[in-house]
């Protein structure tokens, strides 16, 4: 129903313009009289935004965090009372659960398309975002993800796919550079969990290591449910690499670090955002000390509006888990594009998303031709005294102002 209102209204406007262009002066006053009459009769337009993340399963806490980020943005937009196309706009969030399962992801995506949402925020995982992005692209619905980092997402040629976080090519590069320059490692071993995320990140890391003149001594594999890594770690031990890199999540990374130490490997451990959580330290125990991880973006304390956002979020929903600020920015970018297009219709405001220059909480958001964030920053952390400590930021605008005291992540 809200759609038909919008359509009717814009038809009236279009008719008015067309008539004006014809120069038919007799008709013009009538058309102008009709246009303001429509919003007066229906002063409010509802904009439906779909949000998808795993709300059940092992990543439920991250999924709920994403949803809260989107909810905070929607509440603020509604409180502000935007006017788009002459009508007062009310945003409504349709939150769905994809269980971090690619199959469920496509089912939920279709459901949102059928519900005629104006835009989609999500999904959380790369594995679910990839198959779902085609459904949104076919329906012409703009999609902004705050956390899907697999490079393929924006490389499929879909005009509708955007993300506000650096992708795994950028992260892999930063990790490879860090291994070569900061750790000064010449030899590495790489393990991944064979998921879209883990494998993708490990491949990019491998490329970056080779580009920096390093050598990959072993490439081993596990899965995202395994707990025993003794066999592959023993094999890696025989090759004596300086760094062991893992592309995967914290639930495997934690026990892996522990087994790495107990098998007597001298290598340091390096992992990406999936393992960059307090959970990894909890599971690895004392063995976590001195290990490294990377996370797209900068620490919250260093973000432009980080402190303010953190206070607002914490007051309403409690501690920030991981991606909430990025999801918040995703909603704001979408609303900003609607404002500039002066329309909430996907086909009308979609071109405006590509032209975004928005100062968000996380960074200044500008997209490249693919819909990837330009100048995405990657930050590196190391475990010190049982906590992730900020080391440095590679890339991004915020890299320059490293003046703020190194704080605790999250």
């Amino acid at each position: 129903m809200p759609f038909s209102r919008v359509t009717r209204m814009s038809l009236a406007v279009a008719a008015a313009l067309a008539l004006a262009a014809c120069g038919d002066k007799k008709e013009e006053p009538a058309a102008q009289a009709a246009a303001p009459a429509t919003p007066a009769a229906q002063p409010e337009v509802t904009v439906k935004l779909g949000h998808i993340a795993p709300l059940t399963g092992p990543q439920a806490h991250l999924g709920k965090d994403n949803e809260n980020g989107a909810r905070l943005a929607v509440d603020e937009l509604n409180a502000k009372g935007l006017e788009i196309g002459g009508a007062k706009v009310k945003f409504e969030l349709l939150a769905e659960d994809d269980q971090a399962d690619p199959k469920q992801g496509t089912i939920v995506a279709q459901k949102l398309v059928d519900a005629k949402v104006n835009g989609v925020i999500g999904h959380l995982n790369s594995g679910t975002t990839l198959p779902a992005s085609k459904i949104y692209a076919d329906a012409g619905i703009p999609q902004i993800s705050g956390s899907a980092t697999n490079p393929k997402y924006t490389q499929q040629g879909f005009a509708t796919a955007f993300r506000v976080m650096a992708n795994d090519v950028q992260q892999g590069h930063a990790l490879g550079e860090f291994a070569a320059q900061a750790i000064k490692a010449k030899t590495v071993a790489i393990i991944d969990d064979r998921t879209a995320y883990g494998q993708g990140l490990a491949d990019e890391f491998e490329k970056a290591v080779l580009a920096n003149g390093g050598k990959v001594l072993a490439r081993e594999f596990t899965n995202d449910k395994a707990t025993d890594f003794a066999a592959i770690l023993t094999k890696i031990k025989s090759k004596k690499p300086e760094v062991v890199f893992y592309g995967g999540m914290d639930s495997q990374g934690g026990p892996m670090v522990k087994q790495l130490k107990s098998l007597g490997l001298k290598s340091v451990f390096l992992t990406g955002d999936g393992g960059c959580t307090p959970e990894l330290i909890k599971l690895a125990g004392a063995a976590a000390e001195g290990q490294y991880c990377s996370l797209p973006g900068v620490p919250l304390e260093k973000m432009a509006g980080g402190k303010e956002f953190g206070d607002k979020f914490t007051a309403k929903y409690g501690q920030i888990q991981l991606y909430a600020p990025y999801v918040y920015d995703s909603v704001m970018v979408m609303a900003d594009a609607m404002k500039r297009a002066n329309s909430v219709e996907p086909a009308k405001y979609l071109p405006e998303i590509g032209k975004t220059e928005y100062q968000g909480v996380t960074s200044k958001i500008v997209f490249d031709g693919n819909g990837d964030l330009k100048n995405g920053a990657i930050s590196l952390y190391q475990v010190k005294d049982g906590k992730w400590e900020y080391l440095q930021t590679i890339g991004g605008d915020a890299a320059a102002d490293a003046a703020a005291p190194a704080g605790d992540k999250k």
Partner: protein, 307 residues
């Protein structure tokens, strides 16, 4: 060479863990001819209860081994009660039903227990407090922790104990009689309900021990951990010959060695054509070969079909 010995030790530890769990499967199967798919979940409950108690006591200043034993002391009755309840609720009413029916309830019970554990302990991974000393020993250049030695020894002791129980005690004789023919055993004065209940209780006690050892070794516990572990242990039991106690041990060790040596050497042997992601494929390939040429498992005997 030391790398090879390390891989053998890895395989022995992993295999003993599989064997610990496989003993529970094989015992229930040996007596009842039923595959208790909920056994992996009982292992998980054992791990979770032990972990909860141990976490509460970890700051008490007691020696680590005492805390671990208290944790085990708490996990044992809970697991035994769970095993007893599973048999009473899900299997006993179906004892005369077609064999497929208890198999389906077994899977159902497994799902119920998993979700119950998810509600009680949440969806997060739990870390096992480092209360046990992590002493490392060198054997021919390979390392093994004290805990891992304990796992191998306990698995062997439990196997020996079970064989003694079944072969040398009055209860064991009643179990064997029940396994052979329940109605006739009943006519001979065996209380088969009691024997079957006891079988489940003993199997679940083994699960409690296995749960504690697994979560201590990997320092991790999660509501989902029983599923994969149960699947691997079931494979081990079938590999050795399900129903045969020594076979479960043999199958477990063999599966552990295959996985460990497979992951360690398959890449080099095939010139990088196959990698460590084929470790499970390798294990199941061996299982298929064994089942094709020896359908009753490595040391299993062909038993007469019974109703």
């Amino acid at each position: 060479m030391d790398i090879f010995i390390q891989q053998v030790i890895n395989g022995l530890v992993l295999g003993s863990i599989y064997a610990l769990v496989a003993l529970g499967y094989t015992m229930v199967y040996g007596i009842m001819g039923l595959i208790n798919f909920a056994h992996g979940e009982v292992v998980m409950i054992g791990a979770m209860v032990a972990l909860t108690v141990i976490s509460m006591l970890s700051d008490s200043g007691l020696p680590g081994i005492v805390i671990a034993l208290i944790g085990l002391g708490a996990a044992l009755p809970v697991c035994m009660g769970t095993g007893f309840a599973i048999e009473r609720i899900a299997y006993r009413p179906l004892r005369r039903a077609p064999k497929l029916a208890p198999l389906i309830t077994a899977i159902g019970v497994s799902i119920v227990l998993q979700n119950l554990a998810m509600l009680i302990w949440g969806r997060n991974y739990h870390a096992f407090p480092p209360i046990l000393p992590t002493s490392e020993h060198e054997i021919f250049g390979a390392t093994i922790t004290g805990l891992q030695i304990a796992i191998i020894v306990i698995a062997a002791l439990m196997m020996a104990g079970l064989i003694l129980l079944v072969q040398r005690t009055k209860l064991g004789r009643a179990m064997r009689a029940t396994a052979e023919n329940p109605p006739i055993a009943q006519l001979m004065g065996v209380d088969i309900n009691r024997v079957i209940s006891l079988t489940f209780v003993i199997g679940s006690a083994l699960a409690a021990v296995a749960g504690l050892m697994v979560s201590a070794n990997y320092s991790i516990a999660h509501y989902y951990m029983g599923f994969i572990l149960g699947l691997k242990a079931f494979t081990a039991a079938v590999l050795g010959g399900i129903g045969n106690i020594a076979g479960a041990m043999l199958g477990g060790i063999l599966l552990g060695l295959i996985e460990s040596l497979g992951a360690g050497y398959i890449g080099d042997l095939t010139g990088g054509f196959l990698g460590s992601h084929y470790q499970d494929v390798f294990a199941f390939f061996v299982l298929i070969c064994v089942l094709v040429f020896r359908p009753s498992g490595l040391v299993g005997e062909k038993v007469a079909e019974r109703a």
